[in-house]
Amino acid sequence: MATTMVKEVGSEPAQLLGPESASERTLYPYVTGTSVVALKYKDGILMAADMGASYGSTLRYKSVERMKSIGKHSLLGASGEISDFQEILHYLDELILYDNMWDDGNSLGPKEVHSYLTRVMYNRRNKFNPLWNSLVLGGVKNGQKYLGMVSMIGVNFEDNHVATGFGNHLARPILRDEWHENLSFEDGVKLLEKCMRVLLYRDRSAVNKLQIAKITEEGVTISQPYALKTFWGFSAFQNPTVGAEGSW
């Protein structure tokens, strides 16, 4: 099966649109993570993602950390191909390393990391070899909160709340209604949990094991994994086949 080859940004993938022989460009994702949801609150950014990685329709891996801290000021969450996410973490590791090696008073903030990721994603897309991810980048630097998203084709934007994948359809409407400036930490978490619960009910690739990450001026905290309470005792679920003749 065709796999994504690790390639330097400079070299050309063989057989861009040609026939059979060794295709070295990404065609489909294989092990994927589902939605990431994030919002700005009073002190910074809150981000939530579950710990599942699916292999097609199999919920294969259930302890995958899909949010990671980047440098001192940023937090990255990713959905999509997990191996590509790991590749991106590798690029960012190097970026932060070189940034630290300058050893001067300057450091890359969330805006810079977001812009860098946009460039990387867009350039890969132009070579028809995308990193199959939707990335959420949040952070705080010098009191300025920042929250942005980059898609696998390089579309990027900033907003007060973002979500990837199914989150766009299920979580964003809730956030549009209920988000407001200066949410407290507790309210922010409640709001995110509300979104994640809906996703858990309705997204088939969601698993009930999630983490919530917080980034403030002080730094990053990623919670221990936990599960959401769910309720299935709806009357509509009792005797579900009562109206359907022949069904069981």
Binding site: W102, D104, G105, N106, L108, G109, K111, E112, H114, S115, Y116, R119, N142
Partner: protein
């Protein structure tokens, strides 16, 4: 410095541990016409003496805008300076494109210094014959750096390079303790006075000097000749370098005392003329 058997190429050390070619390159900087830089907490001012070869020709451009937040003044081989400015502009714009953020001056200066160092360690190259005063703003405030042909760089509160820069340095040394909290206009005034010091008697006019400013909320730009002339007129009336009040904002408005006595109380340069400054190489 006298010629000696160790000065033919840059990859030969002298027994005393000197690289003469690098030192000769620094001589070239000393022969160029003066450039001065000074900074406060929020602004950096660059000023330089701009002599034209003849009345028929235009002036050498010695101050270059590198980015909205960085500018550079050069002294020495202006062609080398131009090439390095292009490099700096390129670095800034590439960084801006990738990170959507201005390149921190401190990093640009290190890259520039590393580039200069390469030329001190290759037998087929020569050192850049130009000194650069890099003025810029970043997260940690206003900065002024001096980049040497040797590949060294230093940060300064105020500095002057080029011919007769010692006179300017002396003036700056007397006054630099005040610079950190100076207003923008006082800073420009001090820069102009420092330039005047290097002219040794010759009248300071906006046609022979160039001034540029960068500051918090103010992109790097070169002040136009009329503005500079107004500033010169304003403080030359006052006479001594201890001008009290800040100038009005440099906008085209007639100076009230322009028509009044000029230079009667001025006690600058009654020195005998020593001829014009050497041309830019």
């Amino acid at each position: 410095m006298f010629r000696n058997q160790y000065d033919t190429d840059v990859t030969t050390w002298s027994p005393a541990g000197r690289l003469f070619q690098v030192e000769y390159a620094m001589e070239a900087v000393k022969q160029g016409s003066a450039a001065i830089g000074l900074r406060s907490k929020t602004h950096v001012v660059l000023a330089c003496v701009n002599k034209a070869n003849s009345e028929l020709s235009s002036h050498q451009k010695k101050i270059f805008k590198v980015d909205d937040h960085i500018g550079v003044a050069i002294a020495g081989l202006t062609a080398d300076g131009r090439v390095l400015s292009r490099y700096m502009r390129s670095e800034c714009i590439n960084y801006s494109f990738t990170y959507e953020s201005p390149l921190p001056v401190g990093r640009l200066v290190v890259q520039l210094a590393d580039k200069a160092q390469v030329c001190t360690q290759r037998s087929w190259k020569r050192p850049y014959g130009v000194g650069l005063l890099v003025a810029g703003l970043d997260e940690s405030g206003a900065h002024l750096y001096y980049n040497c042909p040797s590949g060294n760089y230093f940060e300064y509160q105020a500095f002057a390079i080029g011919s007769r820069s010692q006179a300017a340095k002396t003036y700056l040394e007397r006054r630099f303790a005040n610079f950190a909290d100076s207003s923008r206009d006082d800073l420009i005034k001090d820069a102009l006075i420092a330039v005047r010091e290097t002219l040794q008697g010759e009248t300071l006019k906006s046609s022979i000097c160039t001034v540029a400013v960068v500051g918090v909320g103010e992109a790097f730009h070169v002040l136009d000749q009329d503005t500079v002339q107004q500033l010169i007129d304003a403080f030359e009336i006052v006479g001594e370098p201890e001008g009290p009040a800040a100038e009005p904002e440099p906008e085209p408005e007639p100076e009230p005392d322009a028509a009044a006595e000029e230079g009667t109380t001025a006690d600058q340069g009654a020195a005998p003329d020593q001829g014009v400054a050497p041309m830019d190489i």
